[in-house]
């Protein structure tokens, strides 16, 4: 008897063709077609739909699992549930208008996303960015990395069973929100980077908060290490769980900490330094095991490295403007807009047409976001909005890894493995 009865047993009434194709592809996943035993009195084989509204699936991820008892035999992911079409939106907006949309892509580290888009536009349109703006961007990006990793840490440990830990990481995240509030004027969707620089200079108040955070946070990391590193429960749930082999990692296209946990020290900050990452010292943490525990160690060490970068940036922060002076390339400051006719005209021009890269130009620029390589590819037709804007999202690549590493794992480990991969569905869905 063939497993063709998945179709007859699961009676879909909604998006019939879509559901059929999905179940069909689950059947076809491996070359040998598994046979479901019809005379299986305990019905140990079953199809389990997890998500899209499961608390452990980080938003809107849907997994279709074929189980044998407690073991996952194979799994298919269905990821299209947000349907915002950001790339289509980008093609109908000016570059600066699109920037706030990037906040909503990887909403756990909006600062990195802003910088990623702005640096790509600066590359294609040959915009010079002042030195001070580069350093402010680096501080913002590294704070965003810590903030994102803290959320991952809290939810991952919560998925493994410890709830109060989530509150402690959120306490630290709250401090970063306060810093962002002072630095950018927003807590969550910051929209701070501008083409040609940043929106506003770092204030003394914000600087004080950042220094205070950089001083107190290493102690928190030590406490987290103390709690988790030798914790038998945490160890057993993560060690040798969700193993991505070193030889497979490159093939399946893993990105960011998931790739680095398998032994490849690929980090865009070292590979193609942007901003001023070539002028600060930091390490790229790697591990060889490729399991969930390795990803934990890599991210924890990355947070310490981020603090190291922030401290160096504060020391090196040069004086000067934070946005390019060329009114054809960047928004003028609000002072100029309110008190001079020239300023107002330029402001109007920037809002109406925006910056126009040369016709036929193409550029790709990537930054190392907390999840991995986040790249923007832009094709210009000489007008103020991109002809084509493609976002290379690390969560998308990592979700494909997830589809491959879940096979053969226990169903109870699914949530921990999803947590360890740290996907953000807002970014995976384009």
């Amino acid at each position: 008897m063939k497993l063709s009865d998945i179709q007859s047993k699961v009676n879909s009434t909604f998006f019939v063709e879509h559901q059929k194709k999905l179940y069909q592809s689950l059947e076809d996943k491996h070359t040998t077609i598994e046979e479901l035993d019809d005379g299986d009195p305990l019905s140990s084989k079953m199809i389990l739909n997890m998500g899209p509204q499961h608390p452990a699936t980080h938003g809107v991820l849907r997994l279709v699992l074929q189980l044998h008892g407690e073991t996952i035999e194979k799994v298919k992911l269905d990821i299209g549930y947000l349907h915002r079409g950001v790339e289509k939106i980008a093609e109908n907006k000016t570059y600066q208008e699109f920037m706030p949309y990037t906040d909503r892509m990887d909403y756990l580290s909006p600062y990195s996303n802003n910088v990623a888009l702005c640096t790509a536009v600066e590359k294609i349109a040959n915009v010079e960015v002042p030195e001070r703006a580069h350093y402010i961007r680096m501080i913002g990006c590294e704070l965003a990395r810590i903030s994102s990793h803290l959320l991952w840490l809290g939810t991952m440990v919560m998925d493994a069973g410890a709830v109060s830990f989530f509150i402690w990481t959120f306490k630290e995240r709250e401090k970063i929100y306060d810093i962002m509030d002072r630095l950018t004027g927003h807590r969550f969707t910051v929209s701070h980077a501008r083409i040609g620089g940043v929106a506003n200079d770092i204030t003394d108040e914000a600087m004080g908060a950042i220094k205070e955070f950089a001083e107190s946070f290493p102690k928190e990391i030590r406490d987290y290490h103390k709690l988790l590193d030798r914790n038998r429960l945490f160890f057993d749930r993560n060690e040798a769980v969700g193993v991505l082999k070193t030889e497979d990692a490159i093939k399946i296209g893993a990105a960011g900490p998931v790739l680095r946990a398998t032994g490849y020290g690929y980090d865009v900050r070292k590979f193609a330094p942007y901003a001023r990452y070539d002028e600060v010292e930091f390490g790229v943490p790697t591990r060889l095991e490729g399991d969930n525990l390795a990803r934990y160690f890599v991210r924890m060490e990355e947070m310490s490295e981020s603090i190291r970068i922030i401290n160096q940036c504060i020391d090196k922060l040069p004086k000067g403007p934070v946005r390019t002076d060329n009114a054809k390339q960047a928004y003028p400051s609000k002072d100029e807009v309110y008190y001079s006719m020239e300023g107002m005209i330029h402001d109007f021009m920037m809002t109406d047409t925006g910056i126009c890269p040369p016709e036929g130009a193409e550029a790709y620029h990537a930054v190392e976001s907390p999840k991995g390589e986040l790249g923007y590819f832009i094709q210009s037709d000489g007008t103020g909005h991109p002809w084509r804007l493609k976002i290379n999202a690390p969560s998308f690549s990592n979700l494909q890894v997830l589809e491959n590493i879940l096979d053969g794992e226990m169903v109870a480990d699914t949530v921990v493995i999803i947590g360890g991969i740290d996907p953000v569905m807002g970014e995976a869905d384009k």
Binding site: F15, H18, K88, K251, F377
Partner: protein, 170 residues
């Protein structure tokens, strides 16, 4: 045509020119990135060559573009990384408007699997020998390709059945 190529990238380009003199259409640079456009029928050969001889083992991304109103309307771009030489290279193929097809590179880089599905979903370009050719973001029942330039920004009214808002329809 003068290109400012790094040493390792220059070697790659030279090797490509030597190995595929007929199939390499052009190599050009834009904003510091290097692009190599090749004939569509040589895609698998070139990709295998790049992976095995030139260490481009990591496929970072793969995407389509729409060159609306031009000849050979669609373009598929491969974003390749050589970990060993620390270089990035873009490979391009073009395909026709009517019934566009490209060979799937997922036998070479399994990472291409989802990316090719995305290109199919958004542009309707089909990939030969793809292991799992389904749409990825949109439901299978949807008939249009949203990132094509003629697709309206507001979507097409009534193109998809929406669920009943009334819970008891029976």
């Amino acid at each position: 045509m003068s290109l400012e190529l790094s040493e390792s990238l220059q070697k790659t380009v030279d090797a490509l020119t030597e190995a595929f003199p007929e199939k390499l259409i052009e190599v050009y640079q834009s904003s510091g990135d290097t692009f190599a456009r090749i004939e569509k029928d040589a895609l698998l050969e070139v990709c295998r060559f790049l992976k095995e001889e030139q260490h481009f083992i990591y496929l970072s991304d793969l995407f389509g573009t729409d060159r609306y109103t031009s000849d050979e309307r669609f373009e598929v771009i491969y974003n390749l990384i050589s970990m060993k030489n620390q270089t990035r290279l873009f490979v391009k193929v073009r395909c026709e408007e009517e019934n566009p097809t490209v060979d799937s590179v997922s036998p070479i880089w399994p990472a291409a699997n989802w990316n090719e599905r995305e290109v199919y979903d958004m542009f309707g370009i089909r990939f030969n020998n793809h292991p799992d050719h389904r749409r990825i973001f949109l439901p299978e029942d949807f008939e249009y390709f949203p990132l094509r330039k003629e697709f309206p920004l507001l979507g097409i009214q009534g193109s998809i059945d929406l669920p009943q808002t009334n819970p008891d329809t029976e």
